[in-house]
């Protein structure tokens, strides 16, 4: 029996050899997987820009103590609602202006990056690990267990995500931790479905049978044999969920159901600023811009990641 690869080589091998003499050269040793990944990823210049911006935001979060001109909660009573440095009436002591209680907006945004990034990271870690567990069990076990898990996921997917998150927060009470738990629960079905689909398609492969024949137990087959080969779609989904988690946490914060004031979380900052929307544009503009830039960077990077990890896109 010939594999699809054999067939392809048989069909086009001669043509290729004639067209490009290089095909007859001795084969170059296979590149390291990471290097190969990077070469695909780097082809998408937007993705690299996204990665750089994300790294800068990470750096900002790590070095917030050093970078921020003031503390996140420092109040300057003589500079309430001061416009940004370049605007009329502004001062460069507060480059992005101050809010209604005289806190430096730039410093709050810098400190806020810590919250947004950790929300993204924790939510993705939680739902990715639970999703992998549920998905692999469903895919591996099949039958009743699979039906039960997947119907539960269908039900969760029927409820609009923000609505479900609001319900969970309504039960647990509003706080950043509960908002993260709520968002992680909301994202669980996507990871479970992906992990299950990948597991089912991998389970038919010969290497899984070989591993079973060699005497590997269910746990070893699931986590050691199947899981590593299911990762590419999960990684792409994780990137996309990372950006949506930042957005959803900010949305919950904005609704007063996430981080509570005076936490400098970007969504919560916007909620505080709502009443000044017509009188002090800077209080509203910059925290939102911070959310947009971060989410956009992650999404652009996610696009590049998908292209680089998707085997169908590879031309080799």
């Amino acid at each position: 029996m010939s594999t699809p690869l054999d067939t392809r080589a048989g069909d086009t091998g001669i043509d290729t050899a004639i067209d490009t003499g290089a095909a007859l050269e001795p084969t170059v040793p296979a590149a390291h997987p990471l290097r190969e990944f990077w070469s695909y990823f780097a082809e998408n210049r937007g993705a690299v820009v996204g990665l750089v911006i994300l790294l800068l935001v990470c750096l900002m979060a790590l070095l917030a103590n050093v970078l921020a001109p003031y503390g996140a909660d420092d109040q300057f009573r003589d500079a309430l609602l001061q416009p940004p440095g370049w605007a009329e009436g502004g001062s460069w002591a507060f480059p992005l202006g101050t809010d209604a209680v005289g806190r430096d907006i730039l410093s709050r945004i810098i400190y806020g990056s810590r919250y947004s990034l950790s929300v993204g990271l924790i939510v993705v870690m939680l739902s990715l690990s639970c999703g992998i567990l549920c998905g692999l069990i469903a895919g591996y076990a099949g039958g009743l267990i699979e039906s039960l898990i997947m119907r539960l996921m269908d039900i969760m997917m029927a409820v609009p995500s923000l609505l479900l998150a609001i319900v969970v927060v309504a039960i647990l009470g509003p706080s950043l931790t509960n908002a993260m738990i709520a968002i992680a629960i909301v994202y669980l079905p996507q990871f479970t479905r992906l992990a299950r689909a990948a597991a089912i398609s991998e389970m038919r492969r010969d290497y899984v049978t070989a591993s079973r024949v060699a005497g590997a137990g269910p746990m070893r087959v699931m986590f050691n044999t199947i899981l590593p080969n299911c990762m590419p779609p999960l990684i792409v989904q994780a990137t996309l969920s990372f950006s949506s988690a930042i957005l959803d946490a900010a949305a919950l914060g904005f609704l007063g159901l996430g981080a509570q004031p005076p936490t400098p979380e970007w969504g919560t900052m916007l909620a505080d600023a709502r009443e000044f929307v017509l009188s002090a544009w800077w209080v509203v503009t910059f925290p939102g811009l911070a959310i947009l830039i971060t989410v956009l960077a992650v999404n652009i990077m996610g696009d590049g990641l998908r292209d680089a990890l998707d085997p169908k896109m590879k031309r080799s």
């Binding site: 119907r151 269908d154 029927a158 923000l162 609505l163 309504a170 969504g267 929307v277």
Partner: protein, 337 residues
């Protein structure tokens, strides 16, 4: 086709019961007992507490409570709001037309702009237009719409003064609710000025709410178009000498629209989520704002009823999209049968 419909309906029923379990569990999962919660800060005497526990059936086994809840549900009783003391169903449907009006306007805008933009971007792949549309779509997809709404208010209501800040209509118009849709009601009552005011109030929120669906629809239409344009039948149509407009408009577009229909359907769930934020920003008196207010006031019967109704509606929309999908594309109907 009948088998397809039956199979699809078979999937909906367990999902619906799942939703009822979530809504039922909601009030029961809240820490503390529901009677004390309803009593609030005033508290309740032990005798009255026992009486109320019995009256609401909280002293019965949980499965009996659930059956009772289902029984009430099928009789159209979703409970009484703790705040307004009116039936939740009435509160919900008093506000629902406002949300529907906003969502329909947003969806229409998203489709009317998103589909042509996606088609042109797909046909002119790699052009400046393509790059602009895809860049804008990525931006729209990444947009925190609560911020986008505030920004629109700053620009169009604050700086330019072109649009009102909030509400459905200027406060000095008194429009009797006939259909609940402000645009239709003002027209039915022949009040042109009120109609114009209603349109002015609708534009900004609808535009903000349409941002994400617009981005998703444009992206999906473009990729569906690219896929279809590479198909053999399109090449055949071109080879026959048909005009480019005919090939794209008739042969390619009809097939490209199949996945777009699904995406439009899937956006309905997102639209409800977006409506929660958009309505809060623009003080739009719809179900989204009502639900958030109910959460603030810890009005659990309203939260429970609202979740149940919205989730059921989203489920029914998804069902109709699936059925429609089977109708447009026979491969779906027979392929999986």
């Amino acid at each position: 086709m009948l088998r397809f419909i039956l199979r699809r309906l078979g999937l909906v029923i367990p999902t619906f019961f799942g939703i009822t379990v979530i809504a039922f569990g909601l009030v029961r999962l809240i820490p503390g007992d529901p009677i004390r919660l309803m009593a609030g800060i005033h508290g309740v005497s032990p005798e009255r507490h026992a009486e109320l526990m019995h009256q609401y059936g909280f002293d019965q086994p949980i499965w009996l409570q659930y059956l009772d809840f289902l029984n009430e549900l099928f009789h159209g009783n979703l409970g009484i709001s703790l705040v307004t003391r009116t039936p939740v169903l009435m509160d919900f449907f008093a506000r629902f037309p406002a949300t529907l009006e906003l969502s329909i306007a947003a969806m229409l805008f998203a489709i009317l702009v998103g589909v042509p933009a996606g088609v042109i971007a797909g046909v002119k792949r790699g052009s400046l237009f393509d790059h602009t549309v895809m860049g804008a779509a990525l931006g729209g997809y990444s947009m925190p719409i609560f911020w986008w709404g505030l920004l629109m208010i700053v620009i169009f209501a604050g700086l330019l003064g072109w649009a009102p800040v909030s509400g459905r209509i200027d406060a000095f118009y008194f429009i009797d609710s006939i259909t609940g849709f402000m645009l239709i009601d003002t027209l039915l009552q022949g009040n042109t000025d009120a109609f114009i005011s209603a349109v002015q109030h609708l534009i900004l929120p609808a535009f903000v709410l349409s941002t994400i669906p617009l981005a998703v629809i444009a992206r999906q239409t473009r990729s569906a178009m690219l896929e279809v344009l590479g198909e053999d039948y399109v090449r055949t149509a071109r080879a026959k000498g048909l005009s480019s407009r005919r090939v794209i408009g008739l042969h390619a577009l009809r097939n490209a629209l199949i996945p777009v229909v699904t995406v439009v359907g899937l956006q309905v769930g997102l639209l409800f989520a977006g409506a929660i934020l958009t309505e809060t920003i623009f003080s739009w008196p719809g179900v989204g704002k009502w639900l958030v207010d109910a959460v603030y006031r810890r009005d659990y019967p309203s939260v429970q009823g609202g979740v149940l109704l919205i989730a059921t509606m989203v489920m029914l929309v998804n069902l109709s999209v699936d059925l429609l999908y089977g109708l447009i594309d026979p491969r779906i109907r027979y392929g999986r049968a």
